[in-house]
């Protein structure tokens, strides 16, 4: 069962990766990248790294892909010609509708069968927040603090670089 899941997800991950490379339009590349990141998050959870799976969704699928999309939209016209305004997109709409219905059916099945009921008690897997936190704040405290300095430097650097050039 898990093997079947692995192969389906692996196919999706590779499809996302190929989509990033082959898409003519940068917006589609970013969306394929999102697919790849989301599938990798599922793999992380399958590999007992629950915390990193959630972080993957928040940081990569959330922040980084949104940042890419922002920049693509800001750069604008010459990069993303009629990406979202094309008129004859009927096949895409049908596929989206079917995918939405499948997701809805899965969700309804999970709710009815009780598989999605909230679990009581703590998750004690090897990659739980508790375990990661303990290691992060004892053995790896210095790299953790240095990461905060790095993020601050990157933030200042990004602001400095992205200013409109004032002179010349």
């Amino acid at each position: 069962m898990q093997l079947v899941l692995f192969f389906v997800l692996a196919l999706l991950a590779v499809a996302g990766a190929v989509g990033v490379v082959l898409s003519k339009n940068a917006v589609y590349s970013a969306l394929a990248l999102l697919l790849n990141f989301a599938v990798l998050a599922v793999f992380y959870i399958m590999l007992n790294a629950q915390f990193l799976g959630v972080v993957q969704v928040i940081v990569y699928a959330g922040a980084i892909v949104v940042l890419f999309l922002f920049v693509i939209m800001l750069i604008g016209g010459q990069l993303a010609p009629d990406a979202l305004t094309a008129g004859s997109r009927r096949p895409a709409r049908v596929v989206a509708l079917i995918a939405g219905l499948v997701a809805l059916a899965g969700l309804a099945y999970g709710l009815v069968s009780g598989a999605l009921a909230p679990q009581t008690g703590q998750v004690q897997g090897s990659g739980s927040v508790q375990a990661i936190g303990r290691v992060l704040f004892t053995d790896y405290l210095l790299p953790f603090e240095l990461a905060s300095v790095l993020l601050l430097v990157a933030m200042i650097g990004a602001v400095v670089l992205a200013r409109k050039p004032t002179k010349s």
């Binding site: 069962m1 898990q2 093997l3 692995f6 692996a10 991950a13 590779v14 990766a17 190929v18 990033v20 490379v21 898409s23 940068a26 590349s29 990248l33 790849n36 990141f37 990798l40 793999f43 992380y44 399958m46 590999l47 007992n48 790294a49 990193l52 972080v55 993957q56 940081v59 990569y60 922040a63 980084i64 940042l67 890419f68 920049v71 693509i72 800001l74 750069i75 990069l79 090897s126 990659g127 375990a131 990661i132 290691v135 992060l136 053995d139 790299p143 990461a147 790095l150 993020l151 430097v153 990157a154 933030m155 650097g157 990004a158 602001v159 400095v160 670089l161 992205a162 409109k164 050039p165």
Partner: protein
């Protein structure tokens, strides 16, 4: 622990890494090259987590955490550089960007 052998994950991440590397080589749009670099980084992250699970240690996961922090910083600075390039040169084609050539 899992039913899926670790080697499957390693082969998958190698595949994604190679796709990303090919993307860096064949595409000329700076943004897409950037996305392909992210793809390669994620492939390596998958390797680290698969091996962390295989050996039952958390160090690999901590490493992935640090890689994610560095990746976030890198994306912020890199996209700022792309924005500055568009301001200066009005292009994202890496073949036309030769500002450092004397």
């Amino acid at each position: 622990m899992t039913a899926v052998p670790t080697s499957f994950y390693l082969v998958l991440s190698a595949l994604i890494f190679v796709i990303g590397a090919v993307g860096v080589l064949v595409r000329r749009n700076a943004l897409i090259i950037f996305m392909c670099v992210e793809l390669m980084m994620n492939a390596v992250n998958l390797t680290l987590i698969a091996l962390a699970d295989r050996f039952g240690r958390l160090d690999g996961q901590i490493f992935v955490f640090m890689v994610m922090a560095v990746a976030a910083a890198e994306v912020a600075v890199g996209l700022a550089i792309v924005m500055a390039l568009v301001h200066h040169r009005d292009t994202t084609n890496v073949d036309e960007i030769n500002l450092l050539k004397g």
